[in-house]
């Protein structure tokens, strides 16, 4: 008991130290701009989209699976919502249809993986290709304006003119999923399936059901992220949130969600996400080329894996 929690604490501790170092470094490098209320809000603000993807990817990874299509399918859903709004559909219907489309893509992923036994990453990569193509087919080269007031408010609105709605949504989502994983039967089942699907199935848990739910969940959250992103930019484009997907996975791995499945949690993923976003926000603040950020996102992914690796090694 003590050994386990000590180890967990020490890893969490390492992450928090890393976060602190990043804050200190960029505060000095940016001559104080980094450490301001406005910037803190910027960081949190930027977190929302990735947070949704992190939660979806994290839950899937704990169950031992992966979804590389969320970015592309979320982007497609954002475009879908924008098109429906342009065509005069009422906003609740447009949003629900877009979310359903995300869920549908997730269901297809789950179908390919569970019924036809494809490898997860290759099946979802293929679906990423399909949905990305559909984004182009739907949206074309131009961006589609999103001007519905309610939808835009969800992306950009603030409560009492200070706290962005979307931040609250993101924190809430982390909280809800954290509780779900830790405290509910369903959450426990996810860990058991991730640790050993055959054993889980023989104690009456249906790994297929879990897989379908989590893939659909990941698709819906991806779609929500795509719609929020479009709402925030007040337009939907084909680039959308494609690249945010790796940030989501990186944050989850950084925060201790293990790829083998069976371990990790939402609090860690949240800290991972904070680290990731403080880092990229800091890079932008001190005016480093966005290309370096592409580089850094890959490097951070490898770093996250390395952290996971050293943790696993300690445990053995």
């Amino acid at each position: 008991m003590k050994e386990g929690s000590k180890f967990l604490k020490s890893k969490m501790f390492a992450l928090l130290v890393l976060l602190l170092l990043i804050v200190v470094f960029f505060t000095i490098a940016s001559k104080g701009t980094f450490f301001s209320l406005v910037n803190a809000r910027n960081i949190l603000n930027a977190i929302v989209i990735v947070a949704l993807l992190t939660v979806g990817a994290g839950a899937l990874m704990i169950s031992g699976q992966i979804d590389l299509s969320t970015g592309a399918s979320g982007t497609m859903c954002g475009i879908l919502m924008a098109i429906l709004l342009v065509n005069g559909w009422p906003w609740p219907v447009a949003v629900v249809v877009a979310l359903a489309a995300g869920g549908f893509v997730g269901a297809i992923n789950a179908l390919l993986i569970n019924e036809l036994h494809f490898q997860g990453f290759i099946a979802t990569m293929a679906m990423a290709s399909v949905t990305q193509g559909l984004s182009y087919a739907l949206g074309g080269a131009a961006s589609i304006p999103v001007d519905n007031k309610v939808v835009v408010y969800m992306g950009t609105g603030r409560i009492a003119d200070v706290v962005p709605v979307s931040i609250i949504a993101a924190l809430l989502i982390f909280f809800v999923y954290g509780i779900m994983l830790n405290k509910t039967k369903f959450g426990r089942s996810i860990y058991l399936v991730g640790g050993n699907p055959a054993a889980a199935s023989l104690v009456g848990i249906d790994p297929k059901r879990i897989s379908y739910i989590l893939f659909i969940n990941s698709g819906v959250l991806g779609s929500l992220a795509g719609c929020l992103f479009a709402a925030r930019l007040k337009s939907a484009t084909t680039t959308g949130i494609v690249s945010s997907q790796f940030a989501g996975m990186t944050a989850a791995i950084l925060g201790g969600v293990s790829f083998g499945g069976g371990s990790g949690g939402m609090f860690g993923a949240f800290v991972g996400l904070l680290i990731l976003n403080s880092f990229s926000n800091g890079m932008t603040l001190i005016k480093i080329s966005p290309y370096w950020q592409t580089f850094a996102s890959g490097a951070l992914l490898l770093f996250a894996l390395a952290l996971d690796f050293s943790g696993a090694k300690k445990k053995n």
């Binding site: 494809f118 990453f121 990569m125 293929a126 592409t294 890959g298 992914l301 490898l302 894996l305």
Partner: protein, 327 residues
Amino acid sequence: MENMSAAKRLLRSKLFSLAAVTAVVVLIFYLIRRSYLGVDNIRGILNSMSLSGTIGVGMACLLIGGGVDLAAGAEGCFGGVMVALLISKAGAPWPVALVAVILIGAAIGAFNAFLINVLNFMGFIATIGVSSMLQGIINIITKARNISISDRGFWSIGTVAVANLFTLPFMIMAALVVVYGIILSRTRFGRTVYMCGGNRRAARLSGLNPKKISTILYINCGALASLGGAILAARMHSGSPKAVLGSELDAITAAVLGGVSFMGGAGNMGGCFIGLLLLCSFNNGLISVKLASYWTIVAQGVLLIAALIADYFNVRARARELKAAGA
């Protein structure tokens, strides 16, 4: 002996059915559009095979050995950009530049191998990270612009053609297919690759070194991807920071279409070649019937899924056969 010929027959029939599908695809596009089978278009198809094929040879070996390299596209891009830089900016003679670029690709492959075999990262996630890093580096060096090449000697790699049909890039690719096909099926090293892909632990405990094999295959894949990118640069007279991105997916699709199993340990080069032919005739066909290019992106995903579905039924049939034989 009976078993052997039965196995061969099975293999043949699979290759045969794949070839038949390819023929049907070609026929359909031909019926829609007669110019599809014109000399120019055939040359186009064969030429388009060269990029995914050159990368595909390395990828197929890697898949058979139980690995995967999702950075292959970025590696190819890097190769194209570097060859352009070396020739145009550093003034290196093109053969030197070409060799240098292959070595650079090998070095990237070695880095992948380090992550996977020394740090024990999962192959696909590690190479996704490397791909992202490479794309960053490429854009930093090129500022996201094409780098043009004016060395006509280097251009000739892209223009020389036999019988106005078989271009040099295609022939290089075809030669690679043949050479690697022989290595895989006839040499001790080739057998070792299958063994490591088929049962890694068994291979290790039998005195083989799966990490060494995997390292060689990653280096090989990086080198070939880089070569593929350089050849594309010769055809386009410039090194592009993004032209090769995504071709790792083509390479994987072609290999899986051709019967390389994602579980490792199965597949061969002949199948990959036909898989590639099918993929490229299909893509070319979509363009030649004037479907908007984004539909080819959709089609690619669909084709990959179709290939995997075929693989699934194949594996299931084999399992059933094994069961029947056991009973």
